[in-house]
Amino acid sequence: MSNLLKKNEFYLVIVIFALVLFLGITTDQFLDPGNLLELFTSYSFLGTMSAGMLIVLISGGIDLSFTATATISQYVMSTLIIEYGGNIFIAYLIGAGVGVGLGLVNGLLIHFIKKHPLIITIATLNIFNGLLMYFTKGKWIYNFPMWFSDPHDVMVFESAEGYIYPITLPLFLFFIIFVITALILKYTKIGRKIYALGGNKEAARRMGFNIFGLTLFVYGFMGLLAGIGSVSHALIVQTVAPNAIVGKELDVIAAVVLGGASMDGGSGTVIGTFLGVALVAIISNAVILLGIPSYWYQILLGTIIVISVSITAINNKRNMKKEAEINVA
């Protein structure tokens, strides 16, 4: 039990459970499966990217350029499928390819310049975004081919009353990516090495880990998920705009941090991140369903972030004190 109290996920589950209970009682739409599916579909692109951010934070790094990466992936993907046609699989493949490419650029620069990733990715954010705006001239894209605009449902459930509840492709991918990320982090050598790298880089280097390879993997994976998430985003909103995703980088980081990942690296879990994304999604839904003026959303979110990071810091301090005491008995 005392172990459970230390876990960030435990508090998140309680807060989410309380919110769900409250919304379930006060509104009749919230627990409707249609509402929940729609809510999670609209958050699937943010969720997809948050899995990538989780791995970056665990490795002790940070990436602020992924929103520009995502937007470039969207533009390249849309331009190519409008020009040459294709199918949904090819669309995701193009997005993922561009994303990985730009992610690897970050990985290379971070490894060779050996400066803080925060600064390097601010530089690449400027470069990527500047070039994107220059070449696209800020034009929106919405003339997608028919096959892109058709609904993409992986599974469809039908209730007894005849209501249809679809599991959309973006939502399905969001779940699959979380499962894969969890498997990578928990059961592969590379995943365990990423934790070690974030915990203590110098120790990881002396263990003989291939730091260069790990860095490339981490930022390449972030790019991959930015690319996939961006195609999901285009699929959901059916428009590509230069400023639809850029500027949201701190929202994604906030969701991951709410999920208990540490900025110092070495800690963070996929379940925590999922709960962090869920919390952000539920709050935004609550504001709408309860009819609260939407101006309150930011204040609620900000308060929750401040409280959550403070609780984590206080817990960490307490643990450090405990470790400092020498127990003779």
């Binding site: 803080h116 400027n126 500047g130 500027g247 941090v257 900025m263 110092d264 204040i299 308060t303 972030i305």
Partner: protein, 328 residues
């Protein structure tokens, strides 16, 4: 003794590698654009427009830089500036009615109230970072979101516009031909430079950036210093707000949000070590001039402003590569 060693330039370079590099880049940019855009770049009107444009970003960058020197960061500077701008503008709008109002007094009060508000945000940041122990990036990410929320809630997302003439003078007027915002910027830069170099808390700010634990064990009250740094950073955001609302002739939540990461870029470009401990206000000022000259030079050449954003990123990567080889 070879000629190279007696060369005063190489002596200077050896002593201040980063500063000389920036001076060199500064002169290079100046000369390059003067030749590329003859009769337009090296003119009083161009320098005057640079002097009007630079202070907003400049003061915000100094607000960012001092927190970075202590090994932290302050993501809430833009949000703080917007909130304190909204406070200033709403007080002016509410209190100035008709001809009889004491405009000068009201402007002073409004600006002071705005400063007070920005100081409070800095105080909150300081408490969360120094006493609760939250890492600066997370603490200020939280306060940024919260403060933005307060701004949006209090204005309902609307713009507050139409400020009194006296207020507009702060952002658009000149004294003896020197733009007022530039005078404010120069005073801020000198004062912050003096604080960092000559005051105990300013020096401790560097020490904390190098090694916080060692600084604490050598008897420095690190918590008090971090508080001071963040209060000052908040206050500077308020000063930037004063210029910002005056230049826009309005206040709103969400103005200048794209400046946030640019202030980090300009700080690091000016030699501030992102992990703290090293960097000077002089370097930051030079960096601001270089970045501003690049964008106004390219603008005069008719090159898209997006290319100058790209170039800023390239310059930052470039200078980091040079710094890497300097250390060896």
């Amino acid at each position: 003794m070879s000629l190279k060693k007696t060369n005063p330039f190489s002596e200077l370079y050896r002593k201040y590698p980063n500063f000389s590099l920036l001076i060199g880049l500064f002169l290079l940019t100046l000369i390059l654009f003067s030749f590329m855009v003859p009769g337009k770049f090296f003119t009083l009107s161009n320098f005057s427009s640079i002097a009007f444009q630079l202070p907003e970003l400049g003061i915000l960058t100094i607000a960012m830089a001092i927190t970075m020197l202590s090994g932290g960061i302050n993501l809430s500077i833009i949000a703080t500036a917007n909130l304190s701008g909204i406070v200033m503008a709403s007080i002016m709008k509410a209190m100035i009615q008709g001809q009889g109002s004491p405009v000068g007094l009201i402007i002073t009060l409004a600006v002071l109230a705005g400063f007070g508000c920005s100081l409070l945000v800095g105080l909150a940041n300081g408490i969360i970072i120094a006493f609760i122990g939250v890492s600066p990036i997370l603490a200020t990410l939280g306060t940024m979101t919260l403060v933005n929320g307060i701004s949006i809630l209090s204005t309902k997302g609307y713009v507050i516009s139409g400020l009194p003439d006296g207020m507009l003078f702060i952002g658009n007027g000149s004294i003896l031909g020197i733009p007022v915002p530039f005078v404010i910027f120069a005073v801020v830069a000198l004062l912050v430079g003096f604080w960092l170099k000559n005051m105990p808390s300013g020096l401790s700010n560097y020490l904390i950036g190098s090694n916080e634990t060692a600084t604490r064990y050598s008897g420095v009250n690190t918590k008090a210093v971090i508080m001071k740094t963040h209060i000052l950073s908040g206050l500077l955001s308020g000063v930037a707000a004063m210029i910002m609302i005056s230049r826009f002739n309005s206040a709103r939540a969400g103005y200048a949000e794209s400046y946030l990461l640019v202030t980090v870029l300009a700080s690091v470009f000016g030699g501030v070590d992102p992990s703290g401990g090293f960097g000077k206000v002089g370097g930051v000022v030079l960096s601001l001039f270089i970045l501003q000259m690049v964008s106004s030079g390219l603008n005069l050449l008719g090159v898209s402003s997006f290319i100058s954003v790209t170039l800023w990123g390239v310059l930052l990567i470039g200078i980091m590569i040079v710094q890497k080889y300097q250390r060896k």
